[in-house]
């Protein structure tokens, strides 16, 4: 995952955990630049920003100071810093939901107050700056499983996840003055807010920071490297743009080892030792490069670095858009040196980005749960004998007909209900000794990501049947979807009372 859950200290308070950094040209207005940072991986649907953290996005001028195997990007002061702090909660109005406000301090010292979750955001009077903060759908795509020695395509592991998102948009000419140079380096960081007299902790350390995606969870913490220390927390405490010279060799060596390991993940060496060392040197200076005078697209991420390492002038603005599939871009680069494009199990995020401010899609709804049980006098084995066959659910009074495709896990059952509707479901797991099966709904219910489970357990001399499902409501809303599923379960389970 990009920078999701990348160290023990982030796990302590996940709202301090930076997941991703973005830098792109506004789709609404090409004269404006958008910087965004996300925190709190897998945050659910009610998450709120911590009021104990300063969230900053920092920009510095950059220049190409070497190419090819001598690739080097140098950054210079002064910093262009956007810092957001959040207040404690205010009691909400009618719906009872608490309100949170925040303050963004701009590079020129202006401060902008905003309400968390207000999609219109807030803008400075002259329109130079605009800010949004709130929950959005996590646009990250992680469709690979990394095993010790290899990689396996998988579904997006962050499917339906939300994050807390901070978006800063500004007038590029006025704020960055690209006439003096259009290449910039960007990082985001979270730092505890010092409070005089506070007794907890010492000098406020940095909680987390992020430059290019996957510095910590892929490059520094490579599961293919055996018996090595986890350097992520040490990395997170480094000062961006100024890695401690004492520990820099440690990180550099880890990057070399890690990149060498990734190079061989497909069984083929695509990197020469010198090119690999140059790549590691480039990555240890961790910041996202963006050229605001060139086009920034969904595929331009890392192009500045890659072209420079290849000894060529870069063509794009690099950066990172909301829909940029950064994992596949990175893996293609470090595994086969861009010899052939690698694609994970999916190339689509839960929701794509949008063309309008704040550019990140609305949050995903929370999973809904329906669980119904019935207690029966018959033994568990007797009950399971009737209801334990996924493909033979004729015991259910609302089912008129079932057609089956395949056998065992993966089997599809196409159900015709007595009122003529069709429901298609797939068996995922069956465990007869434990009297349990799990299945997914494919079609026919107003839901998505539906996982159902039917189990029979001993209950005294009798048994207890539980039918449970988790799903995302689709279409008519949570209440209707829950009612439909609940009715289906209750009717089925109630009918068992007369049989046992």
């Amino acid at each position: 995952m990009s920078d999701h859950i990348d160290g023990p200290r982030q796990i302590g308070d996940p709202s301090a955990d930076l997941t991703d950094l973005f830098a792109f040209t506004s789709p609404e207005n090409p004269a404006r630049t958008v910087l965004a940072a996300n925190v709190f991986p897998t945050c659910g649907v009610d998450a709120i920003f911590s009021n104990a953290i300063n969230h900053s996005i920092v920009v510095r001028r950059a220049k190409v100071a070497g190419i090819g195997d001598a690739t080097k990007f140098e950054t210079a002061d002064p910093e262009i810093r956007f810092s957001c702090r959040f207040d404690g909660l205010e009691r909400g109005a009618a719906d009872g939901k608490p309100i949170q406000r925040g303050t963004c301090t701009m590079p020129d010292g202006q401060t902008l107050r905003f309400v968390v979750g207000d999609e219109k955001g807030a803008a400075t009077p002259d329109g130079t700056f605009r800010v949004y903060a709130g929950m959005r759908s996590d646009p990250f795509i992680l469709a690979w499983i990394f095993t010790g020695g290899g990689m396996r395509k998988f579904q997006n592991l962050l499917l339906n996840d939300n994050v807390l998102c901070i978006v800063v948009e500004f007038d590029t000419l006025r704020v960055l003055d690209p006439g003096k140079g259009s290449l910039f380096a960007v990082i985001a960081e979270t730092i505890p807010i010092p409070r005089p007299g506070g007794f907890v902790g010492h000098e406020p350390p940095r909680m987390d920071w992020v430059g290019r995606p996957e510095q910590t969870n892929v490059r520094l913490n490579n599961s293919g490297l055996k018996d090595v220390d986890d350097l992520r927390d040490l990395w997170n405490q480094q000062t961006p743009f100024a890695i401690d010279e004492k520990v820099r060799p440690l990180f550099l060596q880890r990057l070399k080892d890690s990149l060498a390991n990734y190079d061989m993940r497909d069984g083929r060496q695509d990197w020469t030792p010198t090119a690999l060392a140059a790549n590691a040197q480039m990555f240890v200076d961790d910041f996202m490069l963006v050229d605001v005078a060139k086009p920034i697209t969904d595929t331009s991420h890392l192009e500045i670095e890659k072209s420079t390492l290849n000894g060529k002038a870069y063509q794009t603005g690099g950066g990172r858009t909301v829909d940029s599939n950064v994992i596949d871009i990175l893996l293609t680069w470090i595994v086969n040196h861009d010899r052939e494009s690698l694609e994970g199990g999916t190339t689509k995020a839960t929701k794509p980005g949008t063309k309008n401010f704040p550019y990140f899609a609305t949050p995903n709804l929370d999973m809904q749960t329906v669980a119904e049980t019935v207690e029966l006098k018959a033994t568990p084995d007797k009950v399971w004998e009737l209801i334990g066959q996924f493909g033979a659910a004729y015991w259910h009074p609302l089912i008129a007909e079932i057609r089956l495709t395949g056998t065992g896990p993966g089997q599809l059952r196409t159900i015709e209900t007595i009122d003529g509707k069709q429901i298609i479901e797939r068996l995922d797991v069956v465990d007869d000794p434990s009297r349990f099966y799990r299945y997914a709904n494919i079609a026919g219910l107003p839901v998505s990501n539906y996982t159902g489970m039917l189990s029979v357990k001993p209950n005294g001399a009798g048994s207890s049947v539980e039918w449970r499902a988790q799903f995302l409501p689709n279409g008519p809303g949570a209440l209707i979807a829950k009612t439909i599923v609940s009715t289906l379960f209750k009717t089925g389970l109630d009918s068992l009372k007369s049989r046992f």
Binding site: D13, P14, A16, S50, P194, G197, H202, M207
Partner: protein, 386 residues
């Protein structure tokens, strides 16, 4: 000097408790969704457990214990023999004070190839909770804390030192953990402040109530919904003639449904002569304790015993529960509680038997000198001498 600086400060560098609780609940619900989507995915089940444990401890949501128990069963249905399942089931059993089950799961997990460090870590907690092999546990805790320097390792060491009567060392260890804390989550801070309150308010032979008051107050300031801290602080307020403050501390805790809050409020109201109100809260406490004991007997036996020995007004039920707790974990504190309750119930023979057993089991331990078994015999000796 350090103590004064620490005690005077009211500043915290942690996320507001209210925000932290909302975020915990939001993340908890999401972790369940992820578990149902892909139960076998690495880390998903562990995250559910971590969130439920935090919820039980800090959000005072006692239904989290029921969810943990059901979660253990669901994991068993998915893959009963996997070391990962067994390790999680051991953690759940330990959290519910089903220590023999926990040991059984750990043994199975170990045979199944669970990582040694994972098994060892949980076994240490079980041993510590049961008062078993404490010298070895202490050595190991010291080694781990010195090696890792991590907050949670220091706190576990502090708790053990407190149990062993090394009160100053425990205090230093806790405060070092606080000084070196580098996170913004209020949960660990509130926990350590609570532990320091317990240390100076209950564990030491001569309680320093003002000192304990200060720490409990910090725990509540960090995490306003921390019911255990509210209840203990209210007890001190009540004992020092601040009934109004005690009531104000307990009222917000009632919503949690924790019977301890109802019980202590009933005591405060009784002391103020508001008997009708007190009776209502006492009844709520009684039914709350019985419901908890019905579901999680071992987890609440000691709390139930304390209730029935006090305003619950049923010394025999108190003795029964204390003995259940003592059989489950024969710590010095469990012996002390059972002994006191047996005396209170007029069961002198039982008390003497417990005293003899406690002396055999704990007589060689430093903390034993502070126990009532020694103090009572000293009193008897003094009386005889006089």
């Amino acid at each position: 000097m350090i103590e004064a600086a620490v005690a005077d400060s009211e500043c915290f560098q942690t996320t507001d408790g209210e925000i932290a609780i909302i975020n915990l609940n939001s993340a908890r619900l999401r972790s369940w969704s992820r578990f149902y989507q892909d139960p076998q995915h690495a880390g998903v089940a562990e995250t559910v457990l971590e969130h439920e444990q935090l919820t039980a401890q800090f959000a005072s949501d006692l239904s989290a214990l029921g969810r943990m128990e059901a979660f253990g069963e669901q994991l068993g249905q998915l893959d009963a023999s996997s070391p990962r399942t067994l390790v999680i089931q051991a953690q759940i059993a330990s959290a519910l004070h089903r220590f023999s089950d926990a040991r059984h799961h750990l043994a199975q997990a170990s045979l199944g190839g669970a990582p040694y460090e994972d098994v060892k870590r949980i076994l240490l907690s079980v041993d510590q909770a049961c008062g078993t092999n404490l010298e070895e546990v202490l050595d190991e805790r010291r080694r781990i804390a010195a090696k890792s320097g991590q907050f949670e390792d220091r706190v576990a060491l502090g708790a053990l030192l407190g149990d062993l009567g090394e009160f100053e060392h425990a205090d230093q260890t806790y405060r070092q953990a606080l000084r070196e804390y580098q996170d913004v989550s209020p949960f660990p801070v509130a926990h350590v402040c609570f532990q320091l309150g317990m240390l100076w308010g209950e564990l030491v032979p001569e309680p320093e109530l003002a000192r304990a008051d200060c720490w409990y107050r910090k725990a509540v300031a960090s995490l306003p919904c921390y019911v255990r801290a509210r209840v203990h602080l209210a007890e001190i307020c009540s004992a020092t003639g601040r009934a109004g403050e005690a009531e104000a501390m307990l009222r917000p805790a009632l919503a949690s449904g924790d019977p301890e809050a109802s019980w202590r409020l009933a005591d405060v109201l009784n002391a103020e002569g508001r008997f009708d109100e007190a009776a209502l809260h006492l009844e709520a406490a009684r039914s709350g304790f019985e419901a908890l004991l019905d579901k999680h007997l071992l987890a609440f036996a000691d709390h139930g015993a304390e209730f029935y020995a006090g305003s619950g007004g049923d010394p025999l039920r108190a003795l029964e529960l204390a003995q259940i707790n003592l059989r489950n974990r024969s710590t010095l504190r469990a012996f002390e509680q059972t002994y006191a309750i047996a005396l209170e119930a007029g069961e002198t023979d039982v008390a003497n038997e417990i005293s003899a057993k406690a002396t055999r089991r704990w007589g060689n331990v430093f903390a034993f000198q502070f126990s009532p078994f020694v103090q009572d015999s000293l009193e008897t000796g003094k009386g005889a001498a006089a």
